[in-house]
């Protein structure tokens, strides 16, 4: 099954090249060049992985990460940043990012992380479905 990915970055030329490379590797890729369009995209579609730039105008990647985790905890977020510091990495992981990478990111490493994200999302969705069924059964007294 092809991985469904949302790439979020305000560098449009970066988005174009990277999304094409990822598509060549069999992924189903969408792009967003503003935090607002990324928010609209995650409300409209379900993604296996969201690859998110940490520094963007309007809203930084951390705030967008918080939004995604709150609204769609099953979607896995991989943060990309110009300069990875330990503090930023720890903060991102604490807020629920699946991973944290420094730009320029190696495409093979990124692809591997996206595959992991998809597997993780599938497990999470399965667990959430099980929990939901268990909750219904408990409510109904079955």
């Amino acid at each position: 099954m092809s991985e469904k990915v949302l790439l979020v970055d305000d560098e449009t030329e970066f988005l174009e090249s990277l999304s094409e490379r990822m598509s060549m590797r069999g992924m189903n890729v969408s792009t967003a060049d503003t935090p607002a369009s990324a928010m609209r995209a995650v409300e409209a579609e379900s993604y296996d992985a969201i690859v998110l730039d940490l520094q963007m105008p309007e809203m930084n990647g951390i705030d967008l990460l918080k939004f995604i985790r709150e609204k769609h905890p099953e979607m896995q977020v991989i943060l990309l940043t110009g300069h990875a510091t330990l503090e930023k990495g720890v903060q991102a992981m604490k807020l629920g990012a699946m991973d944290f990478m420094e730009k320029p990111a190696d495409i093979d490493v990124l692809t591997e992380k996206i595959k992991k994200a998809q597997a993780r999302k599938l497990v999470l969705v399965e667990k959430m479905t099980e929990d939901k069924i268990r909750e219904i059964m408990t409510t109904k007294g079955w």
Partner: protein, 224 residues
């Protein structure tokens, strides 16, 4: 000046240098990231071509065009960085205030963009003054930071630099509109204003903040 005060001032100067360096290196990293993605795409296309998929000339032009644009962008960033780095070469020298303003606006664009504020240059005419270039850059950076902090999201802050109207050989007039600058400047900016024998005033026109710089600043003028 006490040792503690001296250390604090020195630290503030270093913090300014650090902020500018961090912003510039971040910009360079972004340029590398775009070039890396473009070069990677060219590599993918050539691997596919080796397997028999025809190359599309338009695609190659598009990607190589992107790489060339990014190299030009990187070159400009490094040139600005070099100009900035050389501002500490001499304590006092002849500078064009408009050029220094343009440099600091370019260097600060990303910091402003992070708060969804755009910086623009309005009327800028040649304003030759003899001053301390490093302190002038520090002062302008501090003013830009303050303006961005007081600007609302989505707004545009416009800067101008013109010779003093009353007496063009008497110095330069810098103005800023689009953000409300507090009447009382932070201590660090007050220190730099004194150091450059400059004079700041707000509200002489609707919402415009003005800084007047003298024609000449001696090496120990306003030194604390």
């Amino acid at each position: 000046m006490s040792d503690e005060r001296h250390d604090a001032v020195e630290r503030e100067d270093l913090r300014f240098f650090g902020k500018v360096s961090a912003s510039i290196s971040h910009e360079i990293k972004n340029v590398f990231a775009v070039i890396h993605a473009g070069a990677g795409l060219l590599e993918d296309l050539s691997l596919l071509a080796a397997k028999g998929r025809p190359l599309e000339p338009e695609k190659l032009q598009q990607v190589s065009g992107s790489i060339l644009r990014q190299i030009q962008r990187g070159d400009e960033i490094v040139r600005n960085m070099n100009t900035f780095a050389h501002s500490v070469d001499e304590d006092v020298r002849n500078v064009d205030v408009s050029s220094v303003l343009e440099l600091m606006v370019k260097i600060s664009q990303r910091l402003a963009a992070a708060r969804n504020v755009r910086l623009e240059l309005g009327e800028c005419r040649s304003c030759p003054v003899r001053t301390d270039p490093y302190f002038l850059e520090h002062l302008l950076f501090g003013v830009i930071e303050l303006a961005v902090a007081h600007a609302s999201s989505g707004s545009v802050v416009t800067f101008t630099a013109t010779p003093l109207a009353a007496a063009p050989d008497q110095g330069a007039r810098l103005s800023l509109s689009g953000a409300r600058i507090p009447a009382e400047l932070p201590e660090g900016l007050e220190r730099l204003t004194r150091r450059l024998a400059a004079c700041a005033a707000s509200g002489d026109e609707a919402g415009t903040w003005v800084l007047r710089l003298p024609q000449t600043v001696s090496q120990d003028s306003g030194r604390i």
